[in-house]
Symmetry: C2
Subunit: 276 residues, 2 copies
């Protein structure tokens, strides 16, 4: 691992680091915010997974997470959203290929060798983080925006016991029934839709739920509502009586102004679940 930059922020340090990823086979870059409390010992870790077209940088500079994380004593990691580099397959569309890993392990050509973002977030990056930074592996929570909200929810429900709480900002909530999902899953996972179900938050909520609190925020003026399908997830949460909240916010769109507006609520909820 090598450190590309360190910026002092709110008494802590916003780092940018790169490492050779065994999951994706290429060098991956991530941001890691360490709060002031990290100088005194291991701190809880919140994962922030980002959306389509984002790198590690967007949420790191736009979401306003550092101020709240500093107050709450949380570390926050901002992973990239796909493998990068010259040898990595891509597609002209913004929602397939680079910047659009969808947090799955591709089984199909030409994606299979590098597009392994589930493995990257679930196994590879954790090894790097816990080996190199003062982070408490027993206290993790996860959140994300849009495609990253999909990733947060599916990883949280797909890895029981790993995360104590999960939240999402305007997640792609039902990708197997959306053009943000069907085309990508067909490309990465193949035509057999049985392989898609483990990567659909609504299906996972119906079938498994989550053993911990769930917070989902959605803007009512989001320009992508038809692609996100939040009502499917809300219905699944209510039907299952999942502990948590689904909140619809009047006037809010899909931008980082929406994410920033509710970041404090999300990190406080996650921090409460991580206390002790």
């Amino acid at each position: 691992m090598r450190t590309l930059a360190e910026h002092r922020a709110f008494g802590g340090v916003q780092g940018v680091h790169a490492h050779a990823s065994t999951a994706t086979g290429v060098e991956m870059t991530f941001g890691l915010y360490l709060p002031p409390a990290a100088a005194r010992g291991p701190v809880p870790l919140v994962w922030f997974l980002s959306g389509l077209t984002c790198t590690h940088e967007n949420a790191m500079v736009k979401a306003g997470a550092q101020r709240v994380a500093a107050d709450l004593g949380l570390a926050v990691v901002f992973p990239d959203t796909s493998p990068r580099g010259e040898g990595v397959a891509d597609d002209p569309a913004y929602d397939l290929g680079k910047g659009a890993g969808f947090y799955v392990d591709a089984t199909q050509a030409p994606w299979a060798p590098h597009y392994r973002m589930w493995d990257y977030i679930a196994n590879d990056l954790p090894r790097v983080l816990f080996a190199n930074f003062p982070l408490d592996e027993g206290r993790q929570a996860i959140t994300g925006h849009s495609m990253g909200g999909h990733g947060a929810l599916t990883l949280a429900m797909g890895l029981p016991g790993r995360f104590r709480a999960v939240s999402a900002f305007a997640p792609i909530a039902h990708p197997t029934a959306s053009d943000w999902g069907r085309r990508q899953f067909a490309a990465y996972l193949g035509a057999d839709e049985d392989a898609w179900a483990d990567h659909d938050a609504t299906i996972l909520m119906r079938e498994r739920g989550f053993d911990g609190p769930v917070l989902v925020d959605q803007g009512a003026a989001d320009q992508f509502l038809d692609l996100l399908r939040p009502e499917a997830l809300a219905q699944a949460m209510a039907a299952r009586r999942q502990p948590g909240a689904f909140r619809m916010h009047r006037g809010h769109d899909h931008s980082y102004f929406f994410v920033a507006s509710f970041m404090q609520d999300h990190l406080r909820m996650l921090a409460d679940a991580l206390a002790d």
Copy 2:
């Protein structure tokens, strides 16, 4: 004036607007955050002037101003840093021409016709703002980052009575003695250095000072310390016994992580001066 975008944020609205500028002769874009209190009547206005290479957008998405402004009931305007467009002169350097207006009115070719950023901030944009939005013209304050800190300090001291308070994050503090200033003033204002003095915060602080509180924050690990010359301004403030504070922050660099870390302090100081 036309509205390009409106994003709900922290209970208020982050707008992006464009207008035909009489000062620069081209269309100019600006961001304006209106806090929830603006729905009930005119609110005080804080100007945030940005630094080299920035557009209206950088501080608007990175500085974390909206949350604090919403709490304090402040509007915040984020102007662009230069004229833009095909007919506007430019230079290959990042610190001259587009993105580098330095908040002066150019008198020299090829800059003179469009590079009139002092006039734009002092006269043109205020007309647009007070005609179109619920803003209290009698309650204004100004701040900025780097080149924008230079602009905030020189406009505040150059327009007595206009702004009740001024602050700056890592301002270009003594441009007539810096490579961030001498080359640009020679290009925009000509070789006669007498014309430069009204655009140097340290000289203005020595000769005039400011009738209101001043807050200047500087990172001790700023990579541009030799160009910013903060010690000259600190000395001038101290020698004049200027009410206010000059603060040096251990470990902080020149980034927006520095700006965001202290945004709350700045907006609170400005809001205190704008109260009543």
